[in-house]
């Protein structure tokens, strides 16, 4: 799928979900059916801490041509702060530390002689997310910005650089309540980072805690 098609699709999906959520946010509770209005009787501010793994789906042509495209799984920690409204809609902020790629190639033949090539690319996305309860699952989507840092070591020279890119996030969660405030669950999510056109699916175990309730 081309970059423009991907972005269009990502933007469209996010927008549809957000639009649907906004209709719920700004709707009068009385207009919602009884199931919806009973679902969240209180407001809450919750913190979710997740820990899991992520991987990169799509390497670029350049990396493939040099065989830097092996599947790696990296540790994925993430943090989410959610405002749980008394409607179906929850709004929050999500952040994570993503290792996008990491490579080490030894004795690379180049025009300038033999060298090792080491590289690491990481991202720190911060996303505004919109979360919706569907049956027992939470489906969320969001968008934001990601700080991306890339590090290369070759020819005995370290080079690092960084950019800010746009990002989209989609996720599906399932939680079990352990106490009134504490819950634990599983989460599957997909990050899409725009400027570098990368898809990063991840799977996590999450713990959620309602810090404030009113």
């Amino acid at each position: 799928m081309s970059i423009i098609q991907t972005k269009f699709l990502a933007a469209s999906l996010t927008f549809l979900l957000i639009l649907f959520n906004f209709n719920l946010l700004f709707s009068d509770d009385k207009n919602l059916d009884s199931n919806l209005s009973n679902k969240h009787k209180t407001f809450a501010l919750s913190i979710y801490v997740s820990s899991g793994v992520s991987t990169l789906l799509n390497y670029s042509e350049g990396n493939k041509s040099r065989n830097i495209n092996k599947r790696n799984f990296f540790y994925l920690p993430s943090l989410k702060i959610m405002w749980n409204t008394n409607t179906l809609l929850n709004i929050g902020i999500e952040s994570a530390f993503i290792t996008i790629m990491k490579d080490q190639q030894y004795n690379q033949n180049t025009d300038f002689g033999i060298t090792n090539f080491e590289a690491l690319m990481t991202a720190l996305p911060i996303s505004l997310i919109f979360d919706m309860n569907i049956w027992k699952f939470n489906l969320y989507a969001g968008f934001g910005a990601a700080y991306i840092e890339s590090y290369i070591n070759a020819f005995d020279d370290n080079s690092s650089s960084s950019i800010i890119a746009g990002n989209y996030i989609y996720g599906l969660e399932y939680f079990i309540s352990l106490t009134e405030r504490l819950k634990v669950g599983l989460e599957a999510k997909l990050y899409y980072i725009t400027s570098i056109n990368k898809y990063l699916p991840g799977a996590c175990i999450s713990i959620g805690y309602d810090v404030f309730r009113w």
Binding site: A11, F22, T110, S150, A154
Partner: protein, 408 residues
């Protein structure tokens, strides 16, 4: 409030979606080679007699009523009016007929197709091969769109000599215009004369280890490169790292300025190079290379001029701090006072300032010349050629400027 938030989100989402992916035009080189297999090369005296203005009796719906044919080395380019199209052909002689084969394409968009033409011996080939100017010269054949269509051209007039600068932007052509090579590469420099250009603008940036290289954007990005790890500025990486591990969109390497100038001098007939200095702090290194390769060209008797581009006040201040700065040939994009202070050979105002007839004339009286940039719209190109006194045009569409110049 609700609408404001929703509209803000729509805006942000659209902003994130603004990136274009390009589909390349594929040149049917295998078919060209197969068709020309076993043919004899076309001598220069034959080529000189083929150059000219031609009228179309067939194919005019696609290319227009009139086209201009001009050889450059082994390639014959047809500059057309309609759809800003052009045809690039290679040729050979077989059985007393001249075979011309290649491809057509629109300057904008990805439409293209195979073209096979010939000059039969009774349509002028016999005289051409004998070194004579034929009384009638007809080129006929077919070109492919969705279907195969006929094309027929008849020689109408000579081609006027090119005493105007047609300068191709971004090292010969932008990626977005679907050329067979990436912008600012040796491969694009090898191609650019087929587009009718006699000059080229090169975008110059500096690597971490102070090597001037050709690269347009401030950041390495997916529009221009293939690799994942290279995301920062050109100046974040060493030249060796870029050359060894970073490839451009069509698979080329980022060239050093020195390599590009050497290629231009030895392998092309380009007469004009505009070095567009993209960042401050690099004028001295670039000026040294400019001098080195200008001297080389002079020693070879090669007719070419290499100019430093002064695009803003910071570059200007750095330029006038060079020792003997008045001796470095330059193009100044700032106002005339700066042109005179820098002793620039050329003034380069942007096209949107208009024809600037009086201001250009005043500078020309002082022995200076003027170029306008970056002019792409066919009607504006025609207007500037008709109504202004500029000595050249910097453009992304040299084929359009060439057509308008030859028809002017």
């Amino acid at each position: 409030m609700k609408h404001f938030i929703i509209n803000s989100i729509i805006f942000l989402l659209l902003l994130q979606s603004c990136e274009i992916d390009i589909t390349n035009v594929t040149i049917p080189q295998n078919r060209i080679n197969d068709t020309l297999e076993g043919t004899l090369p076309i001598k220069d005296y034959i080529k000189a007699n083929i150059n000219g203005k031609y009228k179309l009796s067939e194919g005019k719906e696609h290319f227009g009523d009139v086209i201009f044919l001009k050889w450059n080395g082994r390639y014959l380019t047809a500059f057309c009016k309609k759809n800003a199209s052009f045809i690039v052909l290679e040729g050979g002689i077989r059985d007393s007929a001249i075979i011309l084969v290649g491809y057509w394409r629109f300057s904008q968009g990805s439409d293209n197709g195979f073209v096979k033409l010939s000059i039969e011996k009774d349509n002028g080939a016999r005289e051409l091969i004998a070194g004579l100017k034929p009384r009638t010269l007809t080129i006929s054949g077919e070109f492919e769109t969705d279907a195969t269509q006929k094309i027929n051209l008849t020689y109408n007039d000579t081609l006027k000599s090119l005493d105007f600068l047609i300068i191709a932007h971004r090292g010969g052509g932008r990626n977005i215009d679907r050329h067979p090579a990436s912008e600012n590469t040796i491969e694009m420099l090898n191609y650019v004369e087929r587009l009718g250009a006699n000059g080229v603008e090169l975008d110059v940036r500096i690597t971490k280890d102070n090597i001037p290289v050709l690269f347009h954007d401030e950041y390495l990005n997916k529009r221009l490169i293939r690799e994942d790890y290279f995301i920062g500025k050109v100046s974040d990486y060493t030249y060796q790292q870029l050359r060894a591990f970073c490839t451009l969109k069509r698979g080329e390497k980022i060239p050093a300025l020195k390599d590009a100038l050497q290629f231009i001098i030895y392998n092309t007939n380009l007469e004009f190079v505009w070095l567009d200095i993209k960042e401050t702090g690099s004028v001295k290194q670039i000026a040294e290379i400019q001098k080195q390769y200008s001297d080389l060209a002079k020693s070879l008797g090669r007719k070419i001029e290499i100019f430093l581009g002064i695009a803003d006040i910071n570059i200007f201040n750095e330029f006038i701090n060079l020792e003997n700065y008045r001796d470095y040939p330059s193009i100044c994009e700032l106002d005339e006072d700066y042109v005179i202070k820098a002793n620039s050979s050329f003034w380069g105002p942007r096209w949107s300032l208009g024809f600037l007839r009086e201001r250009v004339t005043e500078l020309q009286k002082l022995g200076k010349k003027a170029l306008v940039w970056t002019l792409d719209e066919p009607q504006f190109i025609k207007n500037f050629l008709d109504k202004s006194y500029f000595n050249g045009i910097l453009t992304n569409y040299p084929t359009v400027v060439a057509y308008e110049y030859y028809s002017n």
